[in-house]
């Protein structure tokens, strides 16, 4: 699993072409979630799918250089902390926990900011957890001495 799955040029060319559009679609789903279907969960999975496709086609080692394991683990925590941090910030601004009204002078704008930040936190956590799941499944069984 650490090596390439296949050396077929079709697969590598197609995945190179698809990589950027998949990530752009994920970002669209992430930030357009307020206006259409979508949101953090779906966007995270879509972005993770791009990285998983990359490490499936080009091998796990290249995937790990693209997304280093430790950075991936830190980002897992960053997502949850971003979500919880929005709640803490609203406590410091004399609101309740996760009360987005106080994030801006206009309650409606505050809700907008809060929802976008919270969805971003969800997206980061979901994407990095999916990549971590794939990497641990794919590297399972090999013991690095």
């Amino acid at each position: 699993m650490r090596d390439k799955i296949s050396s077929s040029p079709v697969l590598s060319v197609v995945s190179k072409i698809l990589f950027a559009p998949i990530i752009i679609f994920g970002l669209y789903v992430q930030f357009h979630g307020d206006y259409g279907p979508g949101g953090g969960f779906q966007a995270g999975v879509i972005v993770a799918a791009a990285f998983i496709l990359y490490s499936m086609i080009f091998g796990l080692s290249k995937g790990e250089t693209l997304v280093p394991i430790m950075i991936n683990r830190y980002l897992m925590c960053v997502g949850v902390l971003l979500y919880a941090g929005v709640g803490i910030v609203s406590i410091f601004l004399d609101g309740m926990y996760l009360d987005y009204n106080v994030l801006s002078s206009d309650p409606s704008t505050g809700q907008h900011i809060g929802i976008i930040l919270v969805e971003l936190g969800v997206g980061i956590t979901v994407a990095t957890v999916m990549i971590a799941l794939y990497h641990s499944f794919a590297s399972f069984g090999e013991i690095n001495e």
Partner: protein, 189 residues
């Protein structure tokens, strides 16, 4: 009428897929068929106008989980073909569960009934005030991130914890530590 026809078509496809999932013995084909099953489910959700749920089902159910299952199946040793030894208990269980489900289905409110309990509780309030207050057209996002912010925080933490658990169990570092531990024990002896 169109709605009913499409629903009928999709549900009969679901039945066909289920039949083939039951019949195949190869693990990889079962994984692929399960992916097709969830994709059909998401088509049914689109038909029911639940686009957000359909999106999640298509991305998570038929996308990522199929990949993860393929990875897990590739790691498994090639086992013997699955023989169904004693069908009797499972048949009784299946019949009992389907009887219970059929009894429950007869008590459910009709599809789209405006007087169903789910449409009378907090949903009308959310639908009425959310657009004027948030200026965000997607009510699902409002409910998910704002009205039910705590629940979504909990869900995120659940995903995070699941990831932590898998990393702790499967990463080669832990395996290394285990082998080192065994080696140390041997050395002590």
């Amino acid at each position: 009428m169109n709605f009913l026809l499409i629903n009928f078509f999709l549900i009969s496809l679901l039945l066909v897929t289920t039949f083939f999932i039951f019949k195949t013995t190869s693990l990889i084909s079962v994984v692929a068929l399960t992916g097709a099953f969830t994709l059909l489910c998401s088509a049914i959700y689109v038909n029911l106008d639940a686009v957000d749920v359909a999106f999640t089902e298509a991305a998570v159910g038929s996308g990522i989980s199929t990949i993860l299952m393929v990875m897990a199946a590739a790691k498994l040793p090639e086992g013997k073909k699955n023989k169904l030894i004693n069908l009797f208990p499972s048949i009784i269980l299946a019949v009992a569960i389907s009887l219970i489900l059929i009894i429950i289905i007869t008590n459910l409110p009709l599809l789209g009934d405006p007087n169903a309990p789910i449409h009378l509780h907090v949903v009308p309030e959310y639908l009425k005030e959310s657009k004027d207050f948030f200026h965000i057209p997607n009510v699902v996002t409002n409910i998910l991130a704002s009205y039910r912010g705590f629940d979504t925080l909990g869900e995120t933490i659940v995903i995070f914890t699941a990831g932590l658990g898998v990393i702790a169990l499967l990463t080669s570092n832990t395996l290394n530590r285990k082998t080192n531990f065994k080696k140390n024990k041997k050395n002590e002896r």
